[in-house]
């Protein structure tokens, strides 16, 4: 009801090649599975297309401005690559299927669910994680606002919320209270911190206008 961003929109990467997209494809009744696979094969075999997998292949990811060379199976999600291979554990794995937003990171400036993006699809793109918001010992205004308004309890959803809030505010620098409620609808919290999150996002909006931050 309150989710203005369709999960598909947030989940689908540039080439439309995502787990969610695939699952949606195969769910379209009889014949869809084979059609989907054929489409995939056709795409894979298009002139100039590079075929990788199913074994590990070299993958280059640029995370928070730093380039990492990895060897990954093509099925590895961006979330697993960030957490298990690169040690960026701020993004959390909770639902693992593009619902809760705990794994939110930014790809080329746009919030995505990292559990729904494959690592190979994130190549050549700017990946920004929560870790980038406290580099050099200074905290991004969104983080400070979350602390000021106690917009966290157990904190497991919080980094995802902070990233979603940052992305939201970059697109909506002057949000109304109602826009905040709608715009953060792609993230879920179990402890019940929404009251603090709403206030924190409004505070961060004010502070971000005064102080541009990465």
């Amino acid at each position: 009801m309150s989710r203005t961003k369709e999960p598909e929109e947030r989940a689908t990467s540039r080439a439309g090649f995502s787990r969610r997209g695939f699952i949606r494809g195969v769910g379209l009744g009889s014949g869809a599975l084979s059609a989907g696979v054929l489409e995939g094969e056709a795409a894979a075999q298009a002139p100039g297309a590079k075929v990788v997998g199913p074994g590990a292949a070299p993958v280059t990811l640029k995370v928070n401005g730093k380039v990492h060379q990895l060897s990954l199976e093509p099925r590895v999600t961006l979330l697993d690559a960030l957490r298990d291979r690169l040690g960026y554990t701020g993004a959390k794995k909770v639902c693992d299927r593009g619902v809760c937003g705990a794994c939110t990171v930014m790809l080329d400036g746009k919030a995505v669910y990292a559990c729904n993006v494959l690592a190979i699809e994130a190549q050549g793109r700017e990946i920004q994680t929560i870790e980038s918001l406290s580099e050099g010992g200074t905290f991004h205004p969104v983080i400070k606002a979350f602390v000021d308004h106690d917009a966290q309890q157990c904190g497991f959803c919080t980094p995802g919320f902070v990233m979603a809030a940052k992305a939201f505010l970059e697109q909506n620098p002057n949000p109304s209270y109602e826009q905040v409620k709608a715009g953060l609808g792609g993230n879920l919290c179990r402890c019940g911190t929404y009251m603090g999150v709403r206030k924190a996002v409004l505070q961060a909006a004010k502070e971000m206008k005064g102080a541009p931050h990465a």
């Binding site: 009801m1 993004a91 959390k92 619902v99 106690d150 966290q152």
Partner: protein, 719 residues
């Protein structure tokens, strides 16, 4: 050691830290993603565990073959968890587990395990008691007074059916652990509510000494009552690490399995008949209730109804426990209380409607039936306050009289009651010659703000800023503290910290007394100084005082032994919540306008995190009232919504405003510190269901109040 020091809390006007809104100490670490949960622990050569579960609700395992899995790429160990011939009682039961070099490879291996089952008949729904057969275990009838005569004498009788289904804990950090086995001991990073106890419990089942387990956990991602034990996965996780040559194994349940087996709250269904007098007095309570908490049956202990209004003179009650093929219930924040409050407050508002009495006046009248603690007058004051904050006089209207438009507004009430006495806890305070202070407890912070409360108590006692106190929790090398359940933590840790820091300070006074030329008992700590009482100009700075320790630190214990309330801590609180909703009678959608929560919790150490507890509790109530339900498939016996798309947690836009009013008058403060986690989560479901009923004029009997249920009620399809 000075004689029995007076450990009492400082007088309200003297407090500089306690009672001040203080940001949680781990707030920046959590919000910036640098806090390390057990789920985030990385070790050299870390392996990943995965679990294969039974797809049948009731079956006998006939064969299991993991030969191919053993040889699967990346696999280091396989554990078989069920034997041929074993009867399995619910879908999701663990039958095998593997460790491999990545999570994907572990799952590949699981797919190669061949398991065969003989499928047996199952029962997964308790809603229709008539179909439960031998799975239903009735308890005896309990009768008080003369219910039959009371019904004859009643001016009005109200009858209804009320239901609240099983819901899941759905902790965002799943259940599991990282275990690294080294020789005859191991490192253990669980996600637990029971840091001091869990390692020893696991050591026992592994048949190794309790001292062989080093348990760590800095922060944890939600428990809500479901994370006290090491569980089966603790045991087989440890074995997988041992079999893999001691390499660390990270094994956390995937979301589907977590929702199937790692925690659920029992249901409660009840047919309730009440009688009352024109003046609004409820005279008789009759209930026939049933519930399930999984394979073991479960639900409420007999005689727990009516909730809060226990003293009604005439009662007849039966309760039936139904065993279904689903995983065992676990404690869920205020076990059974939300369900009891729901059926009680809903049935009572229905009687009030029959009697044409305003529910505020009706509950007020019947509060004489409430127990001594917190007592009828405390509840009456809360009810009055809640009604004022909810603008009851302006907004409430008699049931169903909510205007001619299609969107109807309504208000409803729910009550809570809880103990909240502090658990046993020990604290060690160290004051070092360089002025640093360390406070150590084998406790845990579930996100309630425990770490911050400990620091605040220590800072208050020692006359230091909060930032000057280093709080060390989350490691079983620290003095033991109780598990965090039942709102017992804040009382336990605040009392042990108060005593420990006072004991350490008394030692420091002894050392510095000669330098200030007065006896030690004439000293006090304030504003980062040790000063003479009444002559604050005669002082030493904290650092100068600590330098007098020379080369020896002070290390003093303090203990809360849970001998009962008195002094620092107390128990027995109440609260009243009022919900305000708008219901679209064309779509059946319930919109939350506002919830008012008036709550007693004794002395409040940190109002900021205390309010967060109440906000969170109300949000959980909204979720349970409007969207959450474990849906079982009667055909397959599986949970249909073991995922987060269809196990619906409420979202940030789905909730209205929440007004929290904590009772902080002197009469509350003097009762000492009382736990707050459970009570505010209890009454909200009742309040919301009553508000919806007040709006639309008919009672949708079973929550969650999804649009289909609201529309069915409007169309008279409740049976």
């Amino acid at each position: 050691m000075p004689d029995t020091p007076d450990y009492s809390w400082p007088a309200v006007e003297k407090r500089r830290v306690i009672g001040k809104r203080t940001s949680r100490l781990d707030g920046y670490a959590k919000s910036s993603g640098t806090a390390k949960y057990s789920y985030d622990i990385q070790r050299p050569g870390l392996l990943y565990g995965a679990v294969l579960t039974c797809p049948h609700a009731h079956a006998r395992l006939t064969s299991i073959d993991a030969g191919a899995a053993q040889k699967s790429n990346g696999v280091t160990a396989v554990e078989l968890l069920a034997k041929p011939g074993e009867e399995i009682h619910y879908a999701g039961y663990e039958v095998a587990a593997v460790a491999a070099t990545s999570e994907d490879l572990a799952r590949d291996a699981l797919r190669k395990i061949k398991v065969e089952y003989e499928v047996l008949p199952h029962l997964v729904s308790e809603r229709d008691l008539a179909k439960a057969g031998s799975r239903a275990k009735p308890s005896g009838e309990q009768v008080t007074g003369d219910p039959d005569q009371a019904f004859k004498d009643a001016d009005a009788v109200s009858e209804g059916f009320y239901g609240i289904p099983v819901i899941n804990h759905c902790c965002l950090e799943s259940h599991g652990q990282v275990i690294e086995w080294k020789g005859n001991q191991f490192e253990y990073w669980p996600s637990t509510q029971n840091l001091s106890g869990i390692g020893g419990d696991l050591a026992k089942v592994l048949e190794i000494p309790a001292t062989s387990v080093h348990t760590h956990m800095d922060v944890m991602g939600g428990g809500f009552g479901s994370k006290f034990g090491h569980d089966r996965w603790g045991e087989f996780g440890a074995r997988l690490s041992k079999k893999s040559g001691g390499r660390a194994v990270k094994l956390f349940l995937d979301r589907s399995t977590e929702l199937q087996i790692a925690g659920n709250r029992p249901s409660l269904f009840a047919k309730i008949k009440l009688g009352g007098k024109k003046d609004g007095t409820m005279t008789v309570w009759q209930s026939e209730s049933w519930a399930t908490g999984g394979v073991g049956g479960g639900g409420l202990p007999a005689g727990q109804l009516p909730y809060v209004f226990r003293g009604v003179p005439n009662k007849r009650m039966t309760h039936t426990s139904v065993s279904v093929n689903a995983a065992e219930e676990r404690a869920w924040r205020a076990p059974n209380n939300p369900q009891l409050s729901y059926v009680t407050c809903c049935a009572m508002e229905d009687l009030a409607a029959k009697l044409n009495v305003d529910p505020v006046a009706f509950f007020d009248k019947n509060l004489d039936y409430a127990g001594k603690i917190p007592g009828p007058e405390a509840y009456r004051a809360q009810l009055k306050k809640a009604a004022e904050l909810a603008e009851w006089a302006r907004l409430w209207h008699p049931r169903g009289q909510s205007g001619s438009g299609s969107v109807k507004r309504g208000l409803g009430i729910g009550f809570n009651a809880w103990g909240g006495l502090g658990h046993p806890s020990k604290c060690l305070t160290t004051i070092n010659p360089d002025g640093t202070v360390k406070v150590e407890l084998g406790s845990q912070d579930l996100g309630t703000g425990t770490r911050t409360v400990i620091a605040m108590v220590a800072a208050e006692t020692l006359g230091l800023p909060v930032a000057a106190v280093q709080v060390r929790i989350g490691d079983n090398k620290y003095p033991p503290s109780g598990p965090s359940g039942g709102s017992t933590t804040v009382g336990g840790v605040s009392a042990s910290t108060r005593k420990s820091t006072m004991n350490a300070l008394a030692k420091l006074f002894e050392v510095v007394a000669p330098a200030l030329g007065v006896p030690a008992d004439q000293l006090e700590a304030a504003d980062s100084k040790i000063q003479v009482k009444g002559s604050p100009s005669k002082n030493l700075t904290w650092k100068a005082a600590c330098r007098k320790l020379g080369t020896k630190s002070i290390a003093e214990m303090g203990e809360n032994a849970q001998r009962g309330p008195g002094g620092l801590i107390g128990s027995g609180v109440g609260g009243v919540q009022i919900a305000d909703v708008s219901v679209d009678t064309e779509t059946g959608i319930v919109k939350m306008n506002r919830v008012v929560a008036v709550q007693d919790c004794g002395l409040v150490i940190n109002p900021k995190t205390a309010e967060s507890q109440c906000f969170g509790a109300v949000l959980l109530s909204i979720s349970a009232a409007l969207t959450e339900e474990r849906v079982m498939d009667p055909v397959t016996g599986r949970i249909l919504n073991a995922d987060m798309e269809f196990y619906k947690l409420t979202g940030i836009g789905d909730v209205g405003e929440i007004i929290v009013h904590l009772n902080r008058e002197p009469e509350h403060d003097k009762r000492g510190v009382i736990g707050l986690g459970e009570p505010p989560v209890i009454g909200g479901i009742a309040a919301i269901a009553n508000a919806v009923t007040n709006a639309i004029g008919v009672r949708p009997p079973v929550v969650p109040l999804t649009p289909d249920k609201v529309l069915a009620a409007l169309e008279g399809r409740n049976a």
